[in-house]
Symmetry: C2
């Protein structure tokens, strides 16, 4: 049992070291030797757990996707209004990008490893989650007439990815929180009729809430 | 003279071949041998013109930036309203990404080659151009109160970059035109008060215009 726990810990140490390297230099430039340096383990220990750089990258992408799905579920559990949940999701993904090297590497690897001919599973999952939240917003009377959940969901995903890529490229993600808050403001302007936005004070709070805040202090559900 | 013209032609042939390869596989995976294959020239001919892969990448980024600046200038020359010019610029950059391998490689290389600690010149140029157009929109009464030209310009750039990255990753840019038209629709919703957008029929035309169309049939300037 103790040995199993140690193995799991080593495995996670490798994933974390690899994630730090992938997020810094990307898939192509990451060398197994540098992962060795990053983790402080031996080459042998790494090969014992992972057959290749590619296998490591796939694990990181899977963990990133699992973390994203957990974030969506935690925010859904708050029962906040649809537009509130979109604001919280932006904020939470931004927080995770800052705090979790696996998320940071995952978002980079998903794009770098895609062949250009297939949808990216994690983005499909985001788009599905966002479609649901926009539909909820439509039911709640908070979405401009004429917008479809699909179009809105794709646009939100694009804007988030662009903010993250430019933040990474120009500031190593330091300026991501301000980019995300600005983006949420523009998204809500673009999605909501002016009068609904003004009549909706909990949205301002949702923009500043992470999933953790959300669990303890969920914005009131609209009637 | 004939020799100079031939040299210039060879040089451009190399730049084009390298751009096709860079846009397909990115900077790290591009090998000089593959550029040789792409251009049909010899290794020696390529080295005669360019000392390294890095030198080639820099030329492509510079040409991409020059093409972007020309597009901004061509659209400015139409004297269309600020919001119209933003719609035209999105459309034109989308057209160039589809039509010009140097633009396609340039937009990928600018992000890939940036160290994470400095602004990217071509994005600074886009942001300056967009700030000017948003200011023009403010003067023309077409922008929601409370939005600053800087914030709007950064957001437009992020949304464009995200649409392009996801289009590249999932469809090899095939779906870029529809992504850009959707994005322009959301941007205009987000930037313009509802009544101005409705009262502004030439914007719908501008969304569908390229710089070339624009030169021959500029939307009427608002009084």
């Amino acid at each position: 049992m103790a040995q199993q726990a140690r193995a799991a810990q080593t495995r996670q140490q490798i994933v974390l070291g690899a994630a730090k390297l992938f997020s810094r230099v990307g898939y192509e430039r990451a060398r197994l030797n540098d992962i060795v340096g990053e983790t402080g383990l031996t080459r042998g220990a790494i090969y014992f757990h992972f057959q290749s750089k590619d296998a490591l990258a796939k694990i990181i992408v899977d963990e990133f996707q699992a973390t994203s799905i957990e974030a969506v579920a935690a925010i859904a559990a708050t029962d906040a209004c649809g537009m509130c949940q979109i604001a919280m999701l932006n904020r939470e993904m931004g927080r995770l990008l800052g705090a979790d090297p696996v998320v940071r590497a995952g978002i980079r690897l998903t794009v770098e490893l895609n062949s250009g001919e297939a949808p990216i599973p994690v983005y499909l999952a985001w788009i599905e989650a966002l479609k649901y939240l926009v539909s909820l917003g439509i039911e709640q009377g908070d979405v401009r007439p004429g917008l479809t959940p699909h179009d809105a969901a794709v646009f939100i995903t694009e804007a988030f990815v662009g903010a993250q890529i430019l933040s990474h490229a120009v500031s190593g993600l330091d300026d991501l929180p301000e980019r995300i808050d600005r983006l949420t403001g523009f998204l809500l302007n673009g999605l909501m009729p002016d009068d609904r936005l003004a009549a909706h004070p909990e949205i301002a709070k949702a923009r500043l809430a992470t999933a953790q805040d959300a669990r303890t202090a969920a914005p009131a559900r609209r009637q």
